[in-house]
Symmetry: C2
Subunit: 145 residues, 2 copies
């Protein structure tokens, strides 16, 4: 017997978190979002921020990006788009190229599965790190810290 669908509510906390995330073009961490939200709602807890980020992701209002580093970044733009990850400074940039939804069909036929969407990430060095302009570059993997 199936369970009934979950009815999500747009609470004060959830709304503020969504607004903070949509208010930036960057891809912030959960902790950065927590600090921002605390300025208007000081008693919110970090656990609530994490929980709501997960719910907002399930509601398809935001995206979670977990590439490259040990922590997740969040993207207030839920529209499908690709990302570039700088392996030197860990920056994540949006890529303004069309999303090839036709692949989903190909993969579905090949596997006999249902494909809802796909993600693509490109890895390399961003312009700032190539030109040596970036100040927070991480050492390359073959260099010792």
């Amino acid at each position: 017997m199936d369970k009934l669908p979950q009815l999500y509510r747009m609470t004060k906390q959830r709304k503020i978190i969504l607004d903070v995330l949509r208010g930036t073009k960057e891809h912030p961490t959960a902790d950065w979002i927590y600090e921002q939200v605390r300025q208007t709602m000081p008693r919110i807890s970090l656990g609530t921020v994490y929980r709501n980020l997960r719910v907002l992701k399930e509601m398809q209002d935001i995206q979670e990006l977990n590439y490259g580093s040990t922590y997740s970044l969040y993207d207030g733009n839920a529209e499908p788009h690709y990302h570039f990850v700088c392996q030197d400074c860990a920056a994540v940039l949006d890529i303004d190229l069309p999303v090839y939804t036709s692949y989903d069909q190909q993969v579905a036929e090949l596997l006999g599965s249902q494909v809802d969407f796909h993600r693509m990430e490109f890895y390399g060095s961003c312009p700032d790190c190539i030109s040596g302009k970036s100040t927070n570059s991480k050492p390359k993997m073959w260099e010792q810290l």
Copy 2:
């Protein structure tokens, strides 16, 4: 002044971990690998397994897959290939389709960056979960546990 390149060694531990991972077609967790390695090297520590998985990834001998779930899976096949992630049972399947390296060039020109490689993951329901055969299916996101 630049640091010298890191000289990795192929130690006993590192070799066994690599062999265990290459010995399976599945995409196991770090903990599963740890249990397997312990059968031939009982005194190895879990931290050493994690450290070597990271080093092997940097040596480009294996891949780390961190999609969908709260833990990473590892892939003994270092050759570029795409993956399918089942959102019902969390299985990760290999996709036998050509890798479109031409995108890397496109993105490099668009961003003015250097692109080394890309990854692509498809999300949906695997054949077993569609037919209701899978025994370890997770509840859908709109269902309450």
